[in-house]
């Protein structure tokens, strides 16, 4: 087990390095840099050149890369050219909000998707299956921004049940920052009001973001369960008189879930990408909007910093999913 983790972590290092090289040169091959925008309305070429020199944009690209690599090795992502704050500070303040949203969506998608997929497989080609098929195609096909606006119109404007935007009501003081996860921090501080307020703010964005993942997980679970139901051990268990409920939810599901679990790992990357849209519509103060802003203004230290951090998280999640595989299916455990 330990050897497995070690091997996976070592394997992740070259892919992260590749990611770093690729992003650095992709971002820097575009001629844009923030110097002109920083110099402002009436800047002279000399002024722009001075700013370019101040930030080191006039150095050869490979030299800039070596300098940058040295910084990253020390977990220093440099300073945003615009906000003048360390990129790591900005990421630290925003990433937990994005993770809180994506993890909630992932849990929502998993804990709804797996039972729904199982039910669909059990009622193969009958109405629950057909309904789910329509819903899951819709779930993948519906544009998140449209769904988000519909949710806002219904739950926030018409029914007045849930807030329209943000992470916490503007009149409410935030709980002291510990983990950056508002739900956890408010519980740690014993602030029940902040906890419920955050939860209300979380519902609509999490519903929007989970839609595509829920559909995917449900479909993969359905396919897995259908396949397992054809297996001999199921027929044998039925013949032995194992109650249907136990058979399906305990034995069949455990044997069919690996494909869906693999999807969860892959989905995580998609969810972080999808968070950009959802965060924009709901004014969720996460990493997505911050990154888009950085791309538009060519603030490349921010772009790189975010890419590296998300790359690390993505790699970690996939290692975790592989470990869960082992927990679910003992046959895979031997390979670990």
């Amino acid at each position: 087990m330990l050897r497995f983790i070690l091997r996976r972590v070592l394997l992740a290092i070259p892919s992260l390095f590749g990611l770093l090289v690729l992003t650095f040169f992709l971002v820097r091959v575009v001629p844009a840099d923030p110097a002109t925008a920083l110099a402002g309305e009436n800047a002279t070429p000399a002024q722009i050149a001075a700013i370019r020199h101040e930030y080191g944009f006039d150095q050869p690209l490979y030299k800039q890369f070596v300098v940058y690599l040295g910084q990253v090795a020390r977990f220093d992502f440099g300073e945003s050219a615009y906000s003048r704050r360390p990129v790591s500070l900005d990421i630290k303040q925003r990433l937990p909000a994005t993770l809180e949203l994506t993890i909630t969506s992932l849990l929502l998608g998993t804990f709804l998707g797996i039972p729904l997929g199982t039910i669909a497989a059990v009622y193969h080609n009958r109405w629950p299956d057909i309904t789910l098929r329509i819903l899951s195609v819709a779930g993948v096909a519906i544009a998140a921004f449209w769904f988000a606006i519909e949710l806002q119109l219904l739950f926030s404007m018409e029914l007045d049940w849930l807030p329209l935007r943000g992470r916490l009501s503007s009149s409410m003081d935030a709980p002291p920052l510990v983990t950056g996860f508002m739900l956890i921090d408010s519980l740690l501080a014993g602030r029940w009001d902040a906890f419920t307020d955050t939860l209300h703010h979380l519902i609509l964005p999490a519903m929007t973001l989970s839609l595509g993942g829920l559909a995917t997980i449900a479909r993969f679970t359905r396919a897995g369960v259908l396949e397992t139901l054809q297996r001999d051990f199921v027929t044998y268990a039925r013949a032995q008189g194992v109650p249907s409920r136990v058979l399906i939810w305990k034995y069949v599901l455990k044997n069919s879930i690996v494909a869906a679990l693999t999807q969860i790992g892959l989905l995580f990357g998609g969810l972080i990408a999808g968070a950009v849209v959802v965060e924009t519509i709901f004014d969720w103060p996460g990493i997505g909007f911050y990154t888009v802003q950085a791309i538009l203004t060519a603030d490349y230290k921010v772009i790189l910093g975010v890419t590296v951090v998300i790359g690390v998280i993505y790699a970690a999640v996939n290692i975790l999913v592989d470990l869960i595989h082992g927990l679910v299916d003992p046959r895979l455990r031997e390979q670990l």
């Binding site: 402002g40 906000s83 404007m157």
Partner: protein, 510 residues
């Protein structure tokens, strides 16, 4: 039950309990008395000497004071921290007399030394606001002869100087010096903190770049509050990113003001709704489709005139600046003429738009559809502001055409015609049509050095006539700013400088 299923049950119960009261009692948003929430945009950081754009004015006009300030529409220059000024007959020496007793937020008095420090800091940082001063002002020529006098000696006469003085916000020298690191003039620190004297005080503890700024009323502001006891006690700037959310938040009352780039359908939606209205103000922000005057076929005047006549101005927006009318026949005639003169009119022309600003795309699409009728192939290229401004540093990397606005930063023809068409500014994005006419250069340079406004005016008029005749760009319109506000916001006072961002004039009904 296992531990995990117990935990899952507990979480489910907690969620249900926390939701129940919410479903029973509607999530009605109650506006807080005395607190104004605006959904307008924030600058990239909070240092008014580093960033110089419209969002910065929303912040800096509240946190900081300047020597003179533009108020009203059309904007008028009013004494602010300075009570008066004198200028020497040769137009080189300006002296400003400061008012006595005005205080920074930390309680210390604003003196001439702080003003000198502020101008030196702007010049040393060399960022946004410095452009208007660098060519004419050396740091050593800003001095403080006494505690309440600031003296500027210009390198040569420069008529727009006074109009540009409000650009520089006065910062607290003592605080900044305490936060200097590696001779950075406190630049890293001031990006996330305040050191001003303005009518509102930044709460640095809740500041989040591009996401949130909280301002509290400054009871000790030199202007006092007796003229407006109903001014907002607190101002929260919480930008909304998505137009639809922005308008819904306004209709719900969770923001009191939107930005001023609303598309027509949203404006109509606000006009129909109760409790909110549209503040409509004519601004001095000019919308331009630039042309690279050095690249064939755009180096041909008839080709440029052809494009200028092919733009459907009326179809695009209500108010046209001046110059050209929409006439496809005329456009075709000019294009044919250009072709006869050997201009490669069949080459596809690329127009670069700013992908996050839908209006730039709409303008390009409109021109594209009309041009296709007269056989000109216009290609729309999505681009970003940072990329475009970098590319406009050289003529050969400047796109054929691109779309942008020129906002009002100081009220002088220099802000528009001077910096856009004098060839000495080639290499800056404002002069990125690479237009060169020696006669125009001469007129603009003369206009800049003459201090008598009456003498300057005919010079600018003559230069403008020559420029319009050469048709270097397509001038589309003078922006009308349309902003959604809730009805509890009274006396919204608009000035094209700052786009109505000064909050102290607003009366907030409860």
């Amino acid at each position: 039950m296992t531990f995990w299923s117990k935990l899952a049950g507990a979480v489910a119960i907690a969620a249900a309990v926390s939701l129940t009261p919410q479903i029973l009692t509607p999530y009605a948003y109650a506006a807080q008395p005395g607190t104004l929430v605006t959904g307008d945009n924030l600058p990239a950081n909070l240092d008014p000497h580093q960033i110089f754009d419209v969002p910065m004015q929303l912040y800096s006009l509240n946190e900081y004071d300047n020597l003179y300030r533009y108020e009203g529409n059309p904007p008028e220059l009013k004494p602010w921290l300075a009570e008066s000024y004198t200028v020497s007959p040769d137009g080189l020496t300006y002296e400003f007399k400061l008012r006595h007793g005005a205080k920074f937020h930390d309680g210390s008095e604003i003196t001439a030394d702080d003003v000198v420090y502020s101008f030196k800091r702007v010049l040393a940082l060399g960022k946004g606001p410095s452009g208007a001063f660098k060519p004419v002002l050396k740091p050593d020529n800003v001095t403080a002869p006494d505690k309440y006098t600031v003296k500027f000696v210009l390198d040569h006469a420069y008529a727009p100087f006074l109009s540009a003085v409000p650009i520089v916000m006065v910062v607290n020298q003592k605080i900044l010096k305490a936060h200097e690191k590696n001779n950075d003039w406190g630049a890293a620190w001031l990006g996330s903190n305040g050191a001003g004297s303005g009518a509102y005080i930044l709460d640095a503890s809740t500041y989040r770049p591009l996401e949130r700024v909280d301002l509290k009323q400054n009871p000790a502001h030199f202007k006092g509050w007796s003229d407006n006891p109903q001014a907002p006690k607190e101002v929260q700037i919480i930008p909304t990113r998505e137009t639809s959310t922005r308008v819904l938040a306004l209709l719900k009352g969770s923001v009191d003001m939107t930005d001023s780039y609303l598309p027509t359908d949203q404006v109509e939606r606000i006009q129909k709704a109760k409790g909110v209205h549209i503040e409509k103000h004519t601004s001095m922000r000019v919308f331009v489709l630039r042309m690279n005057n050095t690249k064939p076929p755009l180096d041909n005047i008839n080709m440029r005139k052809c494009l200028a006549h092919a733009f459907n101005y009326d179809g695009f927006i209500t108010e046209i600046l001046k110059g050209y009318d929409y006439d496809l026949k005329k456009a075709k005639a000019f294009c044919d003429k250009a072709k006869a003169e050997g201009a490669p009119t069949t080459r596809p022309i690329e127009i670069h738009i700013q992908s996050q600003l839908e209006q730039t795309n709409q303008a390009a699409q409109l021109l594209q559809s009309d041009l296709s009728q007269i056989g000109i192939n216009l290609k729309i290229v999505s681009d970003t502001w940072a990329n475009i401004t970098t590319n406009t540093a050289k003529a050969d990397t400047t796109p054929d055409m691109w779309v942008h606005w020129v906002s009002t930063y100081f009220v002088d023809p220099e802000n528009w015609v001077g910096q856009m068409y004098d060839s000495q500014f080639h290499g800056t994005w404002k002069a990125s049509s690479w237009y060169k006419n020696p006669k125009v250069d001469e007129l603009l340079r003369k206009a800049r050095s003459v201090t008598d406004q009456k003498e300057r005016q005919p010079l600018y008029e003559e230069a403008t006539r020559l420029i319009v005749a050469d048709s270097p760009d397509i001038w589309v319109y003078n922006t009308v700013e349309l902003r959604g506000v809730t009805d509890r916001v009274k006396d919204f006072r608009f000035s094209p400088v700052g786009s109505g961002g000064e909050m102290r004039w607003i009366k907030l009904a409860n």
